[in-house]
Amino acid sequence: MSGQRNKPAVSMAEIRPELARLRRRGFLRNVLSLGSLTMLTGCDLSTHSGIDGALEAIERFDDRVQAALFNPHRLAETYPASAITHPFRFNAYYAEWQVRPVPDNWVLNLSGLVTDRSPWKLPALMALPQQGQITRHICIEGWSQIGQWSGVPLGVFLRRIGADLSARYVYFKCFDGYSTSIDMASALQPQTILALDFEEKPLAPQWGAPLRLRIPTKLGFKSAKNLEAIEVTNKYPGGYWEDQGYDWFAGV
């Protein structure tokens, strides 16, 4: 596959300033703008921790509302092949030239509340039932595009590995430093798949090779690419963006 594979992996030094910019916790601290000055009248602008705390509490409330609104039987709209967006937009927390090649001897590791924790190789995943979809990928930034993926329904995979389906979270760890987590109900929704193919071809590195999550009932940042491990857990696992303040449930 193209030059992507030959490009050097990114050193931390190269992306550190960008990461520092993105890793702003306490996202309201030190923010003086027309909006915040106007809307926070009466609040002490030197200590925004109270406001931050309130916003985070409402975010958790929103998550409960979203979980209640989530209908496990409602399917995301599917589209004809003619509706697929070309060119498909690359998106990650880094630029496209920083895409990581697939590590040699790649396996998918499993941990947590599963009975069979042996690692999975690609041919074994390919031998499981496959399912395709043409669905809309909606980014938290507001833009959206229609793409085509196929792979193993996550519900099929979780049952196959003897996962505790009453556990609360499924956590995804990626070899590009990314991570995310979803609720079990969304994990078992039939359109949630471990995708192997994009546009009927094996995933290229920039689309998440060799294995990615594709979940059309959540915002795009939940569809983690370049997977290396899955954990089933009852302990809130967070994720790359969730830890910085993106709303965790992120359902659409």
Binding site: T38, A54, E56, D62
Partner: protein, 210 residues
């Protein structure tokens, strides 16, 4: 007995809901600008200093928090508006001729403002902005939950179009606010009437020749 007949230009409930609405809508607009800036769908961006939230995650936290306040305020206002007779009394749809007459008079600065009474143009604009805000809540729900509320997103032509309508609604609200604030600047006493109790002006006072 006569004292009971002089109602305030704006009842206290309206005044409270108005200012809660100003705060909630302000949060929605300024955080909305920050969200828009994350992926502008038109060839311009809002100046960074106008945004609320500091970054996309913060802006969304504000937007999805203030929406509850705006929703509660809006529902309370609608219930109050119907139950108290406020809509029937003050926002009665005017005849087109009335609107034309009052608009021309207003533009020629000949339209007298009577405290507690809305002219035809005001009635159109106030009723219109209520409809726009209700549409804004519906398109907001459609783009927040385009799968779970797929029928609602479908009603607005799908996610991308609903998002465009949501942006358009914001422009309508901002345009309304600019006109509204300009009118208040021309008639500063109306600002006082939205803060403290100011008696309604008697209708006859103006209809009798001086």
């Amino acid at each position: 007995m006569d004292r009971h007949k002089t109602r305030p230009a704006h009842p206290v409930a309206i005044r409270i809901m108005h200012w809660i609405g100003v705060y909630a809508m302000g949060c929605m607009i300024f955080s909305g600008w920050e969200i828009y800036n994350a992926s502008p769908s038109l060839p311009f961006m809002f100046p960074a200093w106008t945004g609320l939230g500091g970054w996309l995650g913060g802006a969304l936290a504000w937007h999805l928090s203030a929406m509850w306040l705006l929703f509660a305020d809006g529902i309370a206002y609608l219930i109050y508006g119907f139950a108290s007779g406020h809509f029937r009394r003050d926002l009665k749809p005017p005849r087109p001729a009335e609107v034309g007459h009052d608009l021309v008079a207003a533009l020629r600065a000949r339209l007298k403002h009577r405290m507690g009474h809305y002219n035809a143009v005001q009635r159109v604009l106030y009723a219109g902005i209520i409809v726009v805000i209700m549409l804004q809540v519906m398109t907001g729900l459609a783009i927040w939950k385009p799968v779970q509320f797929g029928w609602l997103a479908g009603l607005f032509g799908g996610y991308p179009i609903a998002r465009g309508i949501h942006l358009t609604g914001m422009f309508c609200i901002v345009a309304f606010v600019l006109v509204h604030v300009a009118m208040v600047a021309i008639h500063p006493s109306t600002l006082k009437s939205m803060i403290v109790s100011v008696p309604t002006e008697k209708e006859e006072a103006h209809e009798r020749p001086a």
